[in-house]
C-alpha cells in the first residue's frame, strides 16, 4: 500500500462526493443546498488540484485539467452565490439557487471524469 496513493484517491473521491452532496436535491430549492458543503467542496477541490501538480504523464495531465475545470465551476458558483446574497441583496431566490446548483453540476461532471480516470488507472495497474 502506497500512502501517497491513499491520500491522492481520498481527496479525489472526497471532492466528488462533497460536490455531489451539494448538487443533489431540487434545483431551485435553497433548503436542499447547504453553503458549508459548497465551501468544503471548493477547499477539497483546490487541494486535489495541488496534489496533481508535477505529474509528467499523459494521465496526470488529464487529471490536472479535470480538476482545474471543477475548480473553475465551483468558484463561479461561489461568486454567483455571494453576488445574489450580498451584492443584489435578493437572498437565495429560486433563480440564484438554480444558477449556483447548475454550475456545481458542471463541476460534478468534471469530478466524475476525474474519478473515472482514477479507476481506469487503478485497473490498468498490474501490480
Amino acid at each position: 500500500m502506497n500512502l501517497e496513493k491513499v491520500i491522492f484517491g481520498f481527496f479525489i473521491v472526497l471532492a466528488a462526493t462533497l460536490n455531489f452532496g451539494f448538487f443533489i436535491g431540487d434545483l431551485d430549492n435553497p433548503i436542499h443546498h447547504d453553503v458549508y458543503e459548497l465551501f468544503a467542496a471548493i477547499v477539497v477541490n483546490l487541494i486535489a488540484t495541488v496534489l496533481k501538480f508535477g505529474d509528467r504523464t499523459h494521465i496526470g495531465a488529464i487529471h490536472l485539467s479535470t480538476s482545474l475545470v471543477a475548480d473553475l465551476q465551483l468558484i463561479a458558483a461561489a461568486l454567483v452565490w455571494s453576488y445574489g446574497v450580498h451584492v443584489t441583496d435578493v437572498g437565495m431566490t429560486p433563480e440564484i439557487t438554480a444558477k449556483v446548483v447548475s454550475l456545481s453540476g458542471g463541476a460534478l461532471f468534471a469530478n466524475v471524469v476525474s474519478v473515472v480516470i482514477l479507476i481506469a488507472e487503478t485497473i490498468m495497474q498490474k501490480r
Binding site: 453553503v35 458549508y36 465551501f39 477547499v43 483546490l46 487541494i47 495541488v50 496534489l51 501538480f53 508535477g54 505529474d55 509528467r56 461561489a78 455571494s82 446574497v85 450580498h86
Partner: protein
Amino acid sequence: MNSEAYESTFFLALRRLRAPLITLILIYAVSILGLTLIPGLDAAGNPSRMNFLHAFYFISYTATTIGFGEIPNAFSEPQRMWVIICIYLSVIGWAYSIGVLLALLQDQNFRNAVRLQRFGQAVRHLREPFYLVCGYGETGQLICRALDQLGLRAVVIEIDDSRVSQLDLHGHSVDIPALAANARQPEILKRAGLTHTHCQGVIALTNDDNANLAIAISARLLAPQLPALCRAETVEIAANMASFGTRHIINPFDKFGRYLALALHAPAAYHLLEWLTAVPGTMVEPHRDPPRGHWVLCGYGRFGKVLVSALEQESIPVTIIDHAPLAGEGHRRWVRGDGSSAPALLEAGVQDAVGIVASTNDDVNNLSIVVTARELNPQLFVVLRQNLQANQALFDAFESDFTVVPSQIIARECLAILTTPLVAPFLWQIKQRGESWASTLLDQLTDSFGWEAPMVWSMRIDAAAAPALITWLGSTPAGAPLGDLLRNPHNRAETLECRALYLVRDNENDEAIMLPHRHTPVRAGDQLLLVGRSTARNDLTLTLSNENTLAYVLQGREIPGGWVWQQAARLHTK
C-alpha cells in the same frame, strides 16, 4: 546534465510547491470556517454569525498583513480569540511557503533548467540564418565579432561560465544566444539549433580536439547537409574527422606551413591571398618576402614539425634547436639546448642564417629567442609563434616579419569558407597562373583599394539576391554587360569602387572566367566573386534589387517613380 534531467527538475520543482500550497489552502479553509461558525454580534447588538463572503474578505486582508480592522461589525470576544489563532497560523503558512519558493529559486539545478529553457526558446525563435559556434575562446570571439560585422547571426555554446558572461560585455550589434554547457552532448547541440532549418553551419573551435571530434560526428549524423568546420591540432584527430566526411578541417599549424611554403615559393600569390582573406577592418602590412638560405628553428613540436617539412619541401636547409632530438629524425641537423641562450644559437649558425622560427608553445620563450637572435644577426627574417592573444602588446612591440597567431588563422579560414566560398577556387587559379600574373594583379588591386583589408563577397544572380536583374534578364537572356552593372547608381559616368575577380556560370560545361571583362555578359544563375569597398557592395545591391536604378545604370534613362513625379518631370522638360 542533459535536457531530460533539466526538464525533470522542472517537474520536481512543481512537486516541491505542493506542500506549501496545500498548507496555505488548509489554513485559509480552517480560518474561514471558524469565523463563520463562531457567534458574533450584528450592528444592533443581536447575536449573528459572519457569512462566507465577509469571512473570506477578513482572512484575505489579515493573512496578508494588510489589516483593515474588524469589518463589518466589532467582533465578539470568542471571535477575537479565534482571530488570534488565525493570524499566527497564516503568518506561519506564508513564511513557510515563501521560504520554500525562495529556496527553489536559489536552487542551482532549477536555475540551470530555466536558463536552458530560455536559451532553447531564443534559438527556436531565430528566423534568419545563423551559425552555431562551439567554443567562445579567442578564435570564437574573433569569429563572432566578424560574423556580427557581416550582419550574420551566431549561437554560442561554451563550457566555461565566465566566458559566457563575457559575451554580454563584447557589445555585439545583435543579441547572440549563449549557453554554458558541454558541446559534446548531442542533446545540447540540438537545443542550440543544430537541426534548426535556419542553421547554416557548425563551427567547432574548442581547445579540446576530442570535443571537436565529438561535435563533428554529431553534426555528421544529425545534420549531414550542414557544413561543419572543425579545428584539429593533431594529425590523428584530423584523420579521424576526415574518415567520416567532415568537409572542413582546419589545422592552424598546417595552414601556416602552407602559407610559408607559398610565401617562399610565390611571394606575390601569398600577398594576394593574405590581402583577400584578411579579417574585414584590419590593415594588411606588406612585409618583406622570406629569403632563401639557411634557416634556424627553435622548438620541434607540432608547429615546428610542420614548418620544417614546409621548408624542406622548398629545399631550404634547416637547423633545429631543441632539448631532445626525436628518434628517427637523425638525418636532420640538430643542436641540443635552449633556443633562448646565445651559445645554442651560435652553434646552430645563426650568424650566417637568413631566417629564424621561434615555435615553442611558450610566448615568453619565443620572444626571448628572437630578441637574442636579432642581436646576434639583425638581418634575420623572423617567424614568431604567438600562443595567447593576451600577449598581443608584447608581440606588437617586437617587429617580427611573420607573427603566427593560431586563433587568427582559424578565424580567417572559417570566414573565408563560410562567407566567400568562391575564394578557394580563385586562389587555386592564381597558383596556376604563375608569379608574374599574381604580382600584376596584386599591384592593380592595391593601387585602387589600398592595403586595408577589402570587402570580399560572393553573389549569386537569383531571384532572392537580384530580383530586378532577374526580371530584366527575362526579356534579355543574352545577359547584361558586367561593366554596366558596376556603374555608380548615383552617377552612371562613374564606376563603383569594386572589381569582379571570378565568374562561375550556372551551366557546368561553361568554364569559370578569371577577371571577367567589362563586356562579359552576366546571366541568371551566375556566381560572382567581387572585391572592393563596402559602399560599393551596398550600391550594387541597390542596383540589382531596384528596377528603376537598374534601368538607369544599364540604359542611362531615369524612370520617374509615380504619376505626380512623371507630371513634374514633364513640366520640368518644358
